[in-house]
Amino acid sequence: MILMNDISKTYIIGGEQVHALKNANLHIGRGEFVSIVGPSGSGKSTLMNIIGCLDAADSGEYILDGLPIGNYSQKQLAGIRSRKIGFVFQGFNLLAKMTAEENVELPLIYQGVKLSERKARVSRALSKVGLSDRSRHRPAELSGGQQQRVAIARALAADPAILLADEPTGNLDSKTGMEIMKLFLELHQNGNTIVLITHDSSIAKLAERRISILDGHVEDAV
């Protein structure tokens, strides 16, 4: 599903090079639930952005679901994101002016899904995260945990090949965090491929497999 060979990414801040990723190698199979764990600043988000086709690596080879990413246009990358990837962010990243339902619907609109099918998929996704009764609420009217569930529903709505979650429990208290983790485990049981990024090893160990990252080095114990 995900195959990375010698992926590197360097940022230049104030003339100084920051090697966010150094020759990262990664292999994640279909249906796996993998956690990527490492301290703050170790390059986790950079890795996730590359996996999620939000950003391009400076060098190396990346194959996502059989597609060699690298020589695609911005437009094609947007299409790949929309079909293959479901993002869940630490800060939820819901659109504040839209209801839960509308937030979940948005990726389907960009995919060009018909109205009737959109409605069906939105209600299916919201019921998967147990929020059918909150569909008309705006993010501000929901608790943090509920907002993150909406974000997960949004990621699921488009039936992505991979769920990519970057510190999804980072903004939640530990109890709510555990509920979100239960949801991920449930989704994994139903066959979803999940990549979970966290600095919290107690969260990380709930995954099927752990990959550590330190100073841009990925230690993939396959």
Binding site: F87, L95, K97, L106, P107, I109, Y110, G112, A158
Partner: protein
């Protein structure tokens, strides 16, 4: 997708009503300026051209200033009229006359002329007839009167067969003219009498003014011919007479109002441009404010094109709504001005002006929305998501 784009744009506009309204205000004022100014000039020039038309546009009028001992007579006119280029021709001897009927008096304009005058000027007779050749040849004491004279002296317009007196001489009314309603022609206040009679009454034996119509549509060659004839008549002294081509007057008028329309329209268009800059300004602020939103949209699958469209449609919607509001207010303003100005002038919005205003608003929306929209679409998703 397209309905979704419109919905998104609408909700963005609606979610910040005050700002959207202030942004629109520039466009609203611009559209009002364009529509009202152009409509006013159009209305005013229409009424002026209407007046000129009432005087007759297809005619030449001549005034003799100094005949140098070669006076123009009726037989000269007859000779002029025989030229191929010239159609009808009639003298026009104007003077002021007090018209009496019993104890009623009326200060009228009097014109001594011949039977072709009404056709040259396009004057319509309502009751009876106009003057005819026999009236002139026989020095008949007959008159044709304007609508207002009939109403003032007799309280009715059907007055054929009545008599009135001018300068102590009694005249039989043989015709009454249709009401012209014109502001600059005085046909309604004029009494027409046979040229020969008038000439004797005011003791002016020679023709000092006359009007002529061209034989064909070609008024310019008629003008040229008449000029030739008059030059010969007055021994090549071009200061002896004035020859006015009314259709040229109309052309001049049209070019003046055309220029005026262009000028005012241009000034108004500049204010519309300023409105457009307002839109661009707000859109740029909006793009910055919504950087994170743009990042989120891109992360969940929006292409550059999607983002571009979203912001462009938003700008277009603002400018178009502004344009429509501006049109509605303009309509109201023009209604008020029209009702104040009275029925003589009508200031209405022509479909062209409406089209122009809406087209302009749309153009401004595209022109000034494109840059911010493009800027939004080019944001890097990762940078946009990191934006606080």
């Amino acid at each position: 997708m397209s309905i979704q784009v419109l919905k998104m744009a609408w909700s963005a506009i609606a979610s910040n009503k005050m700002r959207s309204f202030l942004t629109m205000l520039g466009i609203i004022i611009g559209v009002i300026a364009v529509v009202v100014l152009v409509s006013l000039v159009t209305g005013a020039s229409d009424s002026i051209t209407g007046e000129i038309q009432a005087l007759g546009t297809n005619l030449l009028s001549v005034r003799v200033l100094d005949d140098n001992g070669h006076p123009v007579t009726l037989s000269d006119l007859k000779r002029f009229g025989k030229e191929n280029e010239i159609g009808l021709i009639a003298p026009s001897l104007s003077f002021g006359a007090t018209v009496k009927h019993r104890s009623e008096t009326y200060e009228a304009d009097a014109v001594g002329t011949t039977g072709q005058y009404d056709d040259i000027r396009g004057i319509k007779v309502k009751h009876g007839r106009f003057l005819k050749a026999a009236d002139i040849n026989n020095n008949s004491s007959v008159v044709v009167i304007g609508h207002e004279i009939a109403e003032e002296l007799y309280g009715k317009s059907e007055t054929v067969g009545e008599t009135l007196s001018i300068g102590g001489r009694s005249f039989l009314i043989v015709g009454v003219l249709e009401e012209s309603g014109s502001m600059i022609s005085n046909d309604d206040q004029t009494v027409y009498l046979p040229y020969t009679v008038a000439s004797r009454m005011v003791k002016r034996p020679n023709i000092t003014a006359f009007v002529a119509s061209p034989a064909t549509d070609d008024i310019d060659s008629a003008e040229e011919k008449l000029n030739q004839l008059l030059m010969r008549q007055f021994r090549q002294d071009e200061d002896s007479f004035i020859l006015i081509n009314q259709s040229a007057l109309m052309d001049t008028m049209n070019s003046v109002t055309g220029t005026l329309k262009l000028l005012l329209g241009g000034i108004a268009a500049i204010s519309l441009m300023v409105g457009g800059i307002g839109i661009m300004n707000i859109m740029l602020v909006s793009v910055t404010e919504r950087t994170r939103e743009i990042g989120i949209r891109k992360a969940i699958g929006a292409t550059r094109g999607n983002i571009l469209m979203q912001f462009l449609v938003e700008a277009l919607m603002v400018s178009l709504i502004g344009g429509v509001i501006g049109l509605m207010i303009s309509w109201g303003i023009l209604e008020v001005i029209s009702s104040v100005a009275g029925e003589k002038v009508s200031f209405s919005m022509s479909p062209q002006v409406i089209g122009l205003a809406l087209g302009f608003s749309l153009m401004i929306g595209v022109a000034f929305g494109l840059y911010p929209a493009n800027k939004a679409s080019k944001l890097h998703p990762v940078e946009a998501l990191r934006y606080e």
